[in-house]
């Protein structure tokens, strides 16, 4: 399996006033196509900065980053936007759905920026909603959905452009643990069935144990790189949990 992400000697400095802050101090690693990677580390370890660079939202100060064979460092902001649009799906801790906008239109959002005709946009949004188990909720606004459902809408949005990788930044951080496992079950299925490379940033070792590889960061350096022989299966874990008696309802 060829690497989809190749990072070499990646350095990122920020300038706070006159003092340069070295956030990433020379990081090198590769992520293979179709892998499921978790990224862990304490606050300030530089993992968010790394995620921003991996997501083409930011560019490194030095070092190289190859995404799917493209050297990202040489691209301008429009070309980066195109890569974000075509190859990357984002899932955020706070869901970041558009308020007062129904689920299907939230999911369609990335397609607005890829010249997709309206009919096809809707069709693909419905397919993505079906894939995260939200068929029938397409006309609900975020305020009418529970947190777990909102995050699933966000996952559908990240899927709708058929991305190569999905970057999830603390996707379960705002959710109940059971719902967190449900989200991981969806990720595992997308990783297994669709072959989408998953990268999940988390604080929670339980969540990390669903990934097949753990990258551990500390003080801007890669500290640990562990491959799990047998990652946990979220679907099986869910079956063993006592069944939820009620369907998720929107919080008051």
């Amino acid at each position: 399996m060829a690497a989809i992400i190749e990072i070499k000697d990646l350095v990122k400095d920020f300038r706070l006033g006159a003092v340069p802050v070295h956030v990433l101090k020379g990081i090198s690693f590769e992520i293979e196509r179709g892998d499921f990677v978790s990224i862990m580390g304490p606050s300030g370890s530089g993992k968010s900065t790394l995620m921003n660079i991996l997501g083409c939202l930011d560019t490194p100060t030095s070092g190289s980053y190859q995404l799917d064979g493209v050297s990202v460092g040489a691209l301008n902001s429009d070309q980066l936007a195109e890569i974000r649009n075509k190859k990357i799906g984002f899932v955020f801790q706070q869901f970041n759905l558009l308020a007062r906008t129904i689920a299907s239109e939230n999911v369609e959002l990335p397609l607005l920026y890829s010249d997709t005709p309206a009919g096809e946009r809707h069709e693909r949004a419905m397919k993505a909603l079906l894939a995260v188990g939200l068929a029938g909720r397409e006309d609900h606004q975020p305020s009418q959905l529970s947190g777990g459902q909102q995050q699933r809408v966000a996952i559908a949005r990240s899927l709708v452009n058929n991305p190569r990788i999905i970057l999830a930044d603390e996707p379960t951080g705002a959710l109940d643990s059971r719902i967190g496992i449900e989200i991981m079950a969806i990720f595992q299925r997308l990783n297994r069935d669709e072959g989408i490379t998953m990268i999940v940033v988390t604080h929670d070792p339980d969540i990390a144990s669903y990934a097949s590889r753990n990258l551990h960061f500390k003080d801007g350096r890669l500290q640990g790189d562990v491959r799990l022989e047998k990652p946990r299966d979220a679907r099986k874990d869910l079956e063993q949990l006592p069944a939820e008696p009620v369907e998720e309802v929107a919080p008051a």
């Binding site: 984002f90 920026y113 890829s114 452009n161």
Partner: protein, 411 residues
């Protein structure tokens, strides 16, 4: 195209979410556009009215009045001495190449009697050329002829006001009116001209053949039986006005034997020039009104900029998300620009309707003629679009150049 429609849809949705705010923002533009349309309408109406009044006098007109003379060191006022005659009129008409026709006039107050009705008005002794020079048309009957003038016939043409006061709405032609015990047969009634630029009723007049007027009604001037009160001269074209004035002046100098350096015994007035000045001042007023109204349009534009800036700040996270999922800077720029232009154009359209209504109300209640031209509607429509682009650009640019990472984290 597809993208533009999408941008417009996104913009409309964003505006709908904040309906009250959008409406208030638009109000600035609505008032601005409505003010421009109504004010320019008022100005244009005033200009047109002055133009109509000038036309009612007749075109390319020069008026020659008998002037002041000094008799034994006493200077007499203009018209006190009859220095202009019907012969001067004939000479001007034949000898001045830039003059088309002349119309000598004698004038005096009379009491006109018909049956038990009577009416005080101005009698003017004129020739048939007077009708041409003043662009008169007839409501009833016809004008008296040159033969009538030569024969000093007792015929009269009534102004509309006089006809109304003596005969009501009925056709007075063929009836006999009495002026100073002389019976006159009414041969025609003039089509009304309304007010003159100086506010006089131009229809309160009775026209008589000049010969009859001097001999039978007003009484001939003792010094000169052929003296006239004024002399209207029509130049052959608007461009020939100055030339005609010079020719008339030279001819009258010669005929009246006025040596160089001595005072003229006549005065020449270019009527068109006098009223053109009034017209210019009306136009200046309408430009001024429009300019003041435009200021409110600019204020409306600033309102749009203000609200768009608030909107950009409020929607920072949304902008960050759009950038993250692949919106280019240009997409964000055009989204917010379309939003601003939509606001200003919607405001513009409502403003046009409001302005039209306002100018109708002004003309209805203030009895003030207003005139809204297609041009001023189009201009204010385009101008409001321009206001949207101009005042929307800065906020839109601010949105487009947000850092997506910071925008996504913005609380």
């Amino acid at each position: 195209m597809n993208k533009l429609i999408t941008s417009i849809r996104i913009a409309l949705r964003a505006l709908k979410v904040n309906q009250a705010r959008s409406a208030l923002t638009m109000l600035g533009i609505i008032i601005g556009v409505a003010a421009v349309i109504a004010m320019v309408g008022v100005g244009a109406g005033a200009t047109t009215r002055i133009q109509q009044q000038i036309q009612s006098i007749g075109s390319n007109l020069i008026i020659v009045l008998p002037g002041s003379i000094s008799a034994n060191g006493v200077r007499l006022g203009s018209g006190a001495v009859a220095t202009l005659t019907q012969d001067d009129a004939k000479a001007i008409a034949t000898d001045c190449p830039s003059v088309a026709i002349t119309a000598p006039t004698v004038r005096g107050g009379v009491q006109v009697v018909y049956g038990s009705n009577n009416w005080a008005t101005t009698a003017q002794g004129v020739t048939p050329d007077y009708m041409t020079i003043r662009d008169y048309t007839l409501l009833f009957g016809q004008f008296f002829t040159t033969q009538d003038v030569d024969a000093a016939a007792k015929t009269a043409v009534l102004g509309e006001t006089v006809a109304q006061n003596l005969f009501g709405d009925s056709d007075p032609t063929g009836q006999v009116v009495i002026i100073k015990n002389v019976p006159f047969t009414v041969v025609g009634v003039l089509t009304p001209k309304g007010q003159s630029p100086t506010g006089q009723d131009q229809d309160d007049v009775i026209l008589l053949p000049i010969s009859t007027a001097t001999e039978k009604v007003l009484g001939a001037n003792k010094a000169n039986a052929k003296a006239v009160s004024s002399l209207m001269v029509q130049a052959i074209s608007p461009e020939a006005m100055d030339q005609a004035i010079q020719e008339v002046e030279a001819l009258l100098h010669e005929r009246h034997r006025i040596l160089p350096g001595l005072d003229d015994d006549f005065t020449i007035r270019n009527l068109t020039e006098v009223f053109a000045a009034q017209e210019t001042s009306a136009q200046v007023m309408s430009i001024l009104l429009g300019a003041i109204a435009s200021v409110s349009l600019i204020v409306g534009g600033i309102g749009i900029m203000n609200i768009m800036l608030v909107s950009v700040t409020e929607r920072t996270r949304e902008i960050g998300l759009r950038l993250a999922v692949g919106a280019k800077r240009g997409d964000i720029l055009s989204q917010f620009l379309v939003e601003a232009v939509t606001l200003s154009l919607l405001g513009g359209i409502i403003g046009i309707v409001t302005g039209l209504t306002a100018s109708l109300l002004i003309s209805y209640f203030a009895q003030w003629s207003t005139q809204v031209s297609m041009l001023s509607i189009l201009t204010s429509f385009l101008f409001s679009a321009l206001v949207g682009v101009f005042f929307g650009y800065y906020p839109a640019r601010k949105a487009a150049f947000l850092n997506p990472i910071e925008a996504l984290r913005y609380e």
